[in-house]
Every structure is written in C-alpha cells, then in structure tokens.
C-alpha cells in the first residue's frame, strides 16, 4: 500500500524514466505495437465487405453518443425504469469509494465469500478488489489478462489488454507458482496451453462463487440491458452462474436503443482488436425469469458518476463519448514507449491523459496532458471522433491560466512572446543566436551538449547549418 502511494505520487516524468530502462517491458511493447496497429487496419478494411465506411460510421457513432449526453439524466431515468421493470435493482454511486461500499454491502447481505469478476475498468477506479478483500470477500479476476495481473499483484496496463506489458516468461513463472507446478520453458506456441491451465483453475471459481461482478460496454436505455463484449467467454460465466450479478459501470455508457448499440458494435471490436465482432456479445436483461434455466436470481446495476457528470456542458464533454476501445493508446507513440503503468492511474494513453486529471480532480496526472507529441494519431483512429490532442491542449491551457505551471516555463514563454511581437529586436536577437549556435557547433555542424536544451542533446545532436539567419541573408541579398 505504501509502495503504491509513492508510485502514484511520482510524476509522469520520473515514471517514464524508469519504464524506458525496463528492458523486459520494452521487449513486450516492441512486440505488441505492430500487432495492434495491423489488426485495427485489417478490421477497418473489412468494413467495405459490408458496404460500410469508417468516417460514415464514426459520424453516426458520434451522433448517438452526443444524443445521450445532451439529455443524460432523462436517458438514465429511462434506463432505471426499464431495468427495474425486468427485476433488476439500480443503485447510484457518487464516486469509486461509494461504488465499492455498495458492492461490499450487497456481498455481505447475500453472504458472499467469493466473487468472480469479468473485466471492468470502473472497478479499478473504485479500487474494488482491495475493498472486497478488506471485507473478507475474495475477488477472482477471470479475464485471462486480468487474472495474470491479479496474480502479479499489479494493475492493468491497458484497458483491453491488461497484461500486455508481461512477457510469456513472466506469465509462466506466475502460473507455476500459483498453480503449484515446476516452471517450464515456454514460447508463444504454448499460449493456448497456458490459457487452458488458467481455465481449469477458473472453472472451479466460476462454479463456487456466489457473486459475479462485471462492467458493461454499453447500457441500453430502451431495454434496461447491459451489453458485454468479450472474447474469452468468462463474461458469460461471471454473469450467468452466480446467484447474484452486480454490474458496475459509468453513467456515460448509455445508448438509447438496440439499433444504436448495433451501430457502435460495428466500431468497437474493429477499433479494439480488428475483429468484425467479438467472440461473445451478451445482452443481459434483468434477473432469471420464470422457467429460465440459468441467469442470476438477483441483478444489481451500480451506476457510477466519479467525476463524469461535471464534464457535461464543459469543454471536456466530448470525452464522455469514449467507448473504451483502446485504439488511441494502440496508436500512441508515447504509450508504446512506456506502457500503461507510467500513466499512474487507471486509464493510460491519450484517453487516460485526458480522463485522469479530469476524474481525479487533477490530483493525479497533472503533467499527463503535457506528455504528448500532438501527433493526433489517437484522434484520427478514435471511433467516436474525440479530439484528444485538443482536449489535452485545453487542459494545458487551464493550467497556464490558473498559474500552475513552473515560473521558469511561464517566464520563458512570456519573454519569447514579447520578443516575437517585436520584429526588429527579434532579428537582432536571432542573428546573435545563430552566431552563438554556430560557435557552439563542432566542425561537422553539430552541437553535442547544449546547456539550454539538456533533454534534447542527452539523446541527439542539434544540427546547425548557418551562422546567419534566413532574414539576415535575405536582406543582404536584397541590398546587393
């Protein structure tokens, strides 16, 4: 716990330095990046087979989410009414802590000793596993990646591939220890074997857990359903086998109708894994009906705000369109240099750099919006067209406006701006700067160490080409 706190308090810059030196992590990231990019590209190309096109779909998806956000309270009321009509209970949580408390209370009331979980990032926001464990209830992650991360005592480093930072050797060591067997040498060909091994262990948990906890990829207002998009089948086990099913999810996951859900489903799996559709798509509506052979006897929706409602009507409202596909991080040069843990909270990559400061009230990740090259590879692949670089820029602007940037940076910016507004003086200064740079450069025209830009020259030379600025040479030419 103490270690976790220290880790969170560290700034992005320091965490980044550690991650860059982690050779095992770097190897895992190098392998994963091209796969993610190629899969999405293939998935989007396949749209043409259905006579569809990315830009057209993305505009439709954006409209669906905007429609929900414009009247979120009304749609939430409708969802609550429809879900209750099907026998579900609907609870509301202001923040993660309240959500965790509600889950624990339900578990205690129902006499639960073990809860299986399918993937839920909101449960990470709520630090739910810690809350359950503290109440003597054992949480068992059943998504393979989450299972690995839980065994390692870590947090997910990616929202759809939580263990992407792990190598197969690390997974083998974790499994050998947990499953009480000797360590073997493994290659990627053994992944199916390792998955089978985990399944065998998890099956016992599926059958014995009294409670299943899932997130929801979408909530459907007209039917009061939760939609679950998974590939491993664990989601079905978690939501169908235990007596009690708790859905814990953010209030922004709502879509109006099943048809809207179908539109978004054209984009979600393709954006995430390149699949035209995921292996499993579950629509979970209410409790076990009369004559039904399976399904939970009790279904509880916990709809969590945790900083979301305050974004409505703010310059950051567009962030609430996010459907958590992970495409932004999969195409982010910064994410794939560091992995997700460098971002310090639940959500990594570009969407995390926007969400983390917003949802945590800037307690976490205040420097995240600065950790971007502005390349907009994220924005261009976003299936709901969130202008992620602009939202990060906007957060930077807020920090400048409220005086939360270092004085040295503010002063440098002001001085440079003052100068740029005065062309004659600017020419005088840049002429001297060009001479100075040229004097610093070696005989091949390179500066190898430059005190004014230490971070630049730590990794690269600064090429210098001329002792005279363009404008100096140009005026001389005009005079001649």
């Amino acid at each position: 716990m103490e270690r976790a706190r220290t880790w969170q308090a560290m700034r992005f810059h320091a965490r980044a330095g550690e991650k860059l030196k982690d050779a095992v992590l770097q190897g895992a990231l190098r392998k994963a990046r091209p796969l993610f990019v190629a899969k999405r590209r293939k998935g989007m190309t396949s749209l043409a087979e259905d006579g569809l096109e990315f830009e057209m779909l993305r505009s439709a998806a954006k409209n669906i989410k905007n429609r929900i956000l414009a009247d979120l309270d009304v749609w939430l009321d409708l969802f609550e009414e429809r879900a209750k009509a099907r026998g579900a209970e609907v609870l509301w949580a202001r923040d993660g802590a309240e959500a965790a408390r509600l889950v624990v209370e339900i578990a205690q009331r129902e006499g639960v000793t073990k809860a299986t979980k399918s993937k839920s990032m909101l449960s990470e926001e709520a630090d739910l596993n810690a809350a359950l464990a503290a109440a003597g209830i054992r949480p068992v992650e059943t998504d393979l990646g989450e299972y690995i991360v839980q065994l390692a005592g870590e947090k997910p480093s990616h929202i759809i591939a939580p263990a992407v930072h792990k190598t197969i050797g690390e997974v083998e060591a974790l499994f050998a220890k947990e499953h009480g067997r000797p360590i073997e040498t493994r290659t990627s060909a053994d992944i199916p074997d390792l998955a089978r091994e985990a399944r065998a262990v998890l099956r016992q948990h599926f059958l014995s857990a009294e409670m299943g906890i899932s997130g929801a990829n979408f909530l459907i207002a007209e039917t009061g359903s939760a939609a679950l998009v998974t590939n491993e089948g664990n989601g079905r086990m978690v939501t169908m086998l235990p007596r009690v099913h708790v859905v814990i999810t953010g209030i922004e996951k709502l879509v109006p109708t099943l048809e809207d859900f179908a539109t978004l489903m054209r984009l979600l799996p393709r954006s995430a894994t390149g699949q035209a559709i995921s292996n499993y798509v579950s629509l979970l509506t209410g409790t076990r009906g009369e004559g039904d052979h399976d399904g939970p006897q009790k279904t509880v929706f916990i709809l969590v705000d945790n900083g979301r409602a305050q974004l409505l009507g703010s310059p950051y409202e567009e962030m609430l369109r996010c459907i958590r596909c992970g495409a932004c991080m999969n195409h982010c040069p910064v994410y794939f240099s560091l992995g997700g843990h460098a971002y310090g909270w639940v959500y990594p990559g570009p969407m995390g750099s926007v969400l983390t400061p917003l949802l945590t009230g800037q307690q976490q990740g205040s420097d995240l919006p600065h950790a971007t090259t502005g390349c907009n590879q994220c924005g261009s692949v976003c299936p709901v067209d969130i202008p992620l670089p602009e939202l990060m820029r906007r957060l930077r602007e807020e920090r400048v406006d409220s005086g939360r940037r270092p004085w040295s940076e503010r002063l440098a910016l002001k001085a440079w701006g003052w100068l740029a507004a005065r062309p004659a003086l600017y020419r005088w200064v840049t002429r001297r700067a060009a001479r100075y740079l040229n004097w610093l450069a070696d005989d091949r025209g390179r500066i190898r160490v430059f005190g004014l830009l230490p971070e630049w020259t730590a990794g690269r030379d600064l090429p210098v080409s001329s002792a005279r600025t363009f404008h100096e040479q140009y005026s001389a030419r005009k005079r001649a």
Binding site: R393, L437, E455, F470
Partner: protein, 243 residues
Amino acid sequence: MRVALYVTCLVDLMRPSVGFAALRLLESAGAEVFVPEGQTCCGQPAWSAGDRSLAVDLARKAIAELEGYDYVVIPSGSCADHLRNVYPRLLADDPDWAPRAQGLAARAWELTGFLAEVAKGSVLPAEFAGTVTYHDSCKGLRGLGIKRQPRELLLKVPGLALTEMVDCEECCGFGGVFSVKFGEVSTQIVDRKCDAIAAAGADAVVGGDLGCLLNIEGRLRRRGDETTRVLHIAEVLAGGDEA
C-alpha cells in the same frame, strides 16, 4: 500571382537554406515572391503550451502582415496547419478579426500542397541522384492531408527513386516542446523512426517539417549514422546547394 513566403522561425534560425529553396521553387513556378518583413513566429508554440492570449497576439500580428497577397506559402505542415486550422478558431469570437483569420486560412498553403495543387505544372529545376524515403509529418498529414503531394513532386525529379519506409506516418517524437521536456521519451520514439529509415536503406530521408528533420538528423548522427542525408523537400526539389 503575388505570393508571400512565410519562412517560419525554425527555418530562419536553424536552416536558412530551406527558405531560399522555397523561394526558388516559388519563383520557378512563376510567382512574384515577397518575404513580408515583420514575420517572426506564427505562435503555435504558445497555443500548444496553453498560453491563449499570447497565441492570439501572435496570430493577429501574422494575419496583419500576411494580408494583400494572393497566397501565403509555408515550408512547414505544422505552421501551415496552425494558420489554416487554428487561427480561425482562435479568433472566431472576434468580429473584426474572425473574417481576416478566415481570409488568411483560405490563402495559406503548405509548400508541397501549393506546388502540387495551385502552381501545377511548374518546372522544377532539380536533379537528385539516389533513393529517398519520405517521412510524413503529423500536422501536415493529419491536419492538412499532405500525403500524395510531396510524393508526386519527388517522382518528377530526374534521377530520384522513392522507397517507402515502414510506418512512414508514425510520429518521429519531435512534438516541439515535447522533445525538450520529455527528451528521453522522445528519443525512444525517434529511435523507431531511425530504425525504419535504416531498414529502408535510402540515401536520404526527406520531410516537409524542419522540426521533425532536426530531430531525426540529430538522432541518426548520435547513433553513428553519418551517411543518410536528412533533407527538407524544398531542398530536394530546388536542387543545388545555393544559399
């Protein structure tokens, strides 16, 4: 055709030859070229850093000095994107300046876009013996749709062969202030670009934005690559080493 050349602050200070190459290209395209005297910086670094009022001041300054020309041409996708896509937004609520910002946005062109789409069929004086690989800079590519234009122009250069590197649209890690604030992360990103360039095996890597090129050249040299040339597309298209 009266054309204003906006050389950019980076070219002015770090690589004047790019400005002169752009000048020659525009003249060979039959334009009457002007270099407006007061130009300094378009203000993009201020906008990016989050200093809106400074960005607005510098936008007004640039708009005022770049009026009265048929076109404004910029040898940088990043600065051209700022003039075209950001100025109108920055000044949208200012009744006096909004139309002027929109006017400039409509006249502002990134160099290769201008040469390929406006000054079509102009005679390029260059020759280049060797293979080149083209790095698509982010703002030009994703902000302005600069993709086929530089390639079309390069393929017209006698002696030049174009070979594509893998992930040519991947960011090089420059990102302006990012590369001096998060230098280590930036180095990690530009290393992937350098690997792609090395694998392409070209004699030169060519791009349309000096920031990216300084980053790539600086890293290639630090890695010990002394031979791969790093050139702005204006330098390749204009040929020669004049200026």
